[in-house]
């Protein structure tokens, strides 16, 4: 969680300093979901969403390649061509999102069918409304595919809350199609226990209610966040401060290493 938080804050800084040729989709506040899921899913193929820096970092992807992607460099994880929405690291393997909201859900589903390998699909609560998302859940249930769908539900499509968009819940639809489902807060311990249970009965769908601190794109804020799970755990974890300081320094060094070359 610390790695994601501090990487994203540096990315925000780079964006504000106009060092990124494109925009950024930052996961500040949403760290807990991928940080926890990744602990339980080593070896899974990962398909992520446009807000995918967190998944790449959590699953052990190369932070330097992600940094360089944001800076538009050839050494970026997509050669600088994809930008913030296209985080990938084939060594995981984690495949880039292409910017079409939620379409990676269908691609992940087809990958699981053909490869028979356990597969993860991360997406947001708006992406989950897409036709291809819903039909993918049904397809996975029909073919009993080894997929865990992880909805990082920040309740916002840009700034439009779920209650203004629909009167149904995605996890209930997934449940009706035959997927094992859960709808939980982004408490890491709760995520850990729930995912542990769901992984025994794939395909499964987990809706994790999370809190995006910054705007959909860019670095703006509309006020203080409703909650900050990382901050909450600073007082719960022994040696949290020392751990975070160590991570913070390494992320600082990672960014400075490249920015000093610019």
């Amino acid at each position: 969680m610390c790695l994601i938080r501090h990487f994203e804050l540096h990315a925000a800084q780079a964006y504000e300093q106009k060092l990124t040729p494109g925009t950024v989709y930052l996961a500040v506040g949403q760290e807990a979901s991928s940080a926890t899921v990744s602990m339980l899913t080593p070896g899974y193929a990962v398909f992520t969403q446009h807000r995918g820096h967190s998944a790449l970092l959590a699953h052990g992807g190369d932070p330097a390649a992600l940094r360089d992607e944001l800076l538009g460099l050839e050494s970026g994880c997509c050669g600088g061509r994809g930008g913030s929405a296209c985080a990938q690291d084939i060594a995981i393997p984690m495949y880039a999102h292409h910017g079409q909201l939620g379409e990676s859900i269908a691609i992940a589903t087809g990958y699981a069918l053909a490869s028979k390998k356990p597969t993860l699909a991360y997406f947001g609560d708006a992406a989950a409304e897409e036709d291809y998302a819903l039909s993918s859940f049904g397809f996975a249930a029909t073919h009993k595919l080894p997929v865990l769908y992880v909805c990082e539900d920040n309740n916002l499509s840009i700034l439009t809350p779920i209650e203004d968009r629909r009167n149904w819940n995605v996890y209930e639809v997934a449940d009706s199609m035959g997927l094992a489902t859960a709808n939980i807060d982004d408490d890491p311990v709760l995520i850990h226990d729930t995912v542990t249970r769901l992984l025994k009965s794939l395909p499964a769908f987990i809706n994790i209610r999370t809190c995006r601190h910054l705007w959909h794109t860019g670095v703006g804020r509309d006020g203080p966040p409703e909650w900050d799970r990382l901050d909450e755990y600073r007082s719960k974890v022994p040696d949290a401060e020392a751990i975070e300081n160590r991570v913070k320094e390494s992320v600082e060094a990672l960014w400075q290493e490249q920015l000093q070359r610019q």
Binding site: Y95, H98, Q100, G110, L113, A114, D131, H143
Partner: protein
């Protein structure tokens, strides 16, 4: 007995599914004649639900996994719903992400089947980067494009036409000194021979160049034929405006400096009744377009060498 196009597709597909571990996706594959008897009854066929918007993404995911899937779209008009993952992911993945999504899209066309079942949309996909696009109409052409797919790592859009499925013959290009080169695409190729006969009776001689590689547009035989004539006409079974015929005609004009016209479907929707159809250009319509081209050329006083008799006969 010679193999038909449908039998060729079926055999290629059987080999891929049984020997290569390939997958074939589509809706209603096993129903009503196995897609005009072009799909084998074998393993690795996945019936899709009627979820057109999502299905292509699933097929693309299978391509990411490396199984080189075939997806059957029974009517090209259905590509409007099936296109997103193909255009936005499969076709871009190599250039943007450095990964590959080789998927073989069998998009079937059909003539005179109403406003949402008669479309020929290869021109739409030619507009987008990242595809190889072809329209094979004979058994050998189909074998060639399949081998090409297997030796490249990008998606291939195959604009098939049900009218070709029972064909066994191969098409012959001609490259003699003549008046005009007729360049045919898709089902328009079926009408070229008759158009050549009609025009010959009027004293207008034609070369014929069959095109099944649309992107990349393989031009060698077309350029040779065009070099021996004064003008060209590209005829397609798709819409004329901003379509394959206009695009290729423009390309040929710039390469040769010779006038090349384009002919395709008219700019209107196609109905079911005979009067409301918007059909593949017939032999007579092709011939009439050639006559008009000669008239326009004569009016521009550029048509030196075309006999007065031909001029006076044109347009009658």
């Amino acid at each position: 007995m010679a193999r038909t196009v449908a039998e060729t597709i079926k055999e290629i597909t059987r080999r891929h599914l049984e020997e290569n571990g390939g997958l074939l996706f589509g809706q209603c594959i096993r129903a009503v004649g196995w897609v005009n008897n072009s799909v084998p009854d074998c393993k690795n066929i996945v019936e899709f639900p009627a979820s057109d918007v999502g299905n292509m993404g699933i097929a693309c995911g299978a391509a990411v996994a490396g199984v080189r899937p075939i997806i059957v779209i029974r009517f090209q008009d259905f590509m409007w719903l099936n296109s997103s993952a193909l255009v936005n992911y499969a076709a871009k993945s190599k250039e943007i992400f450095g990964t590959t999504t080789p998927i073989f899209v069998r998009a079937l066309a059909m003539a005179n089947a109403g406003c949402t079942h008669s479309g020929v949309l290869h021109g739409v996909f030619m507009h987008m980067p990242g595809f190889r696009i072809c329209s094979p109409m004979s058994p050998c052409e189909y074998e060639e494009i399949w081998d090409d797919f297997m030796s490249h790592d990008v998606p291939m859009f195959v604009s098939e036409h049900r009218g070709s499925f029972l064909h066994t013959e191969e098409y012959v290009n001609t490259c003699q000194p003549a008046d005009v080169t007729l360049v045919g695409i898709s089902a328009a190729r079926f009408n070229l021979a008759e158009a050549v006969e009609i025009l010959a009776e009027e004293g207008i001689t034609c070369n014929v160049a069959h095109c099944y590689w649309l992107k990349p547009f393989k031009t060698d035989h077309v350029l040779k034929a065009l070099a021996n004539t004064r003008m060209g006409l590209v005829v397609d079974a798709g819409f004329e405006i901003c379509g394959a015929a206009q695009s290729l005609a423009y390309n040929l004009m710039w390469q040769t400096g010779k006038p090349v016209k384009a002919l395709g479907l008219e700019d209107r929707s196609s109905g079911v009744s005979p009067a409301s159809r918007n059909s593949t250009p017939s032999a007579e319509r092709i011939a009439e377009t050639v006559r008009q081209a000669f008239l326009e050329k004569a009016e521009n006083q550029d048509c030196v060498g075309i006999s007065d008799a031909r001029m006076s006969g044109a347009g009658t």
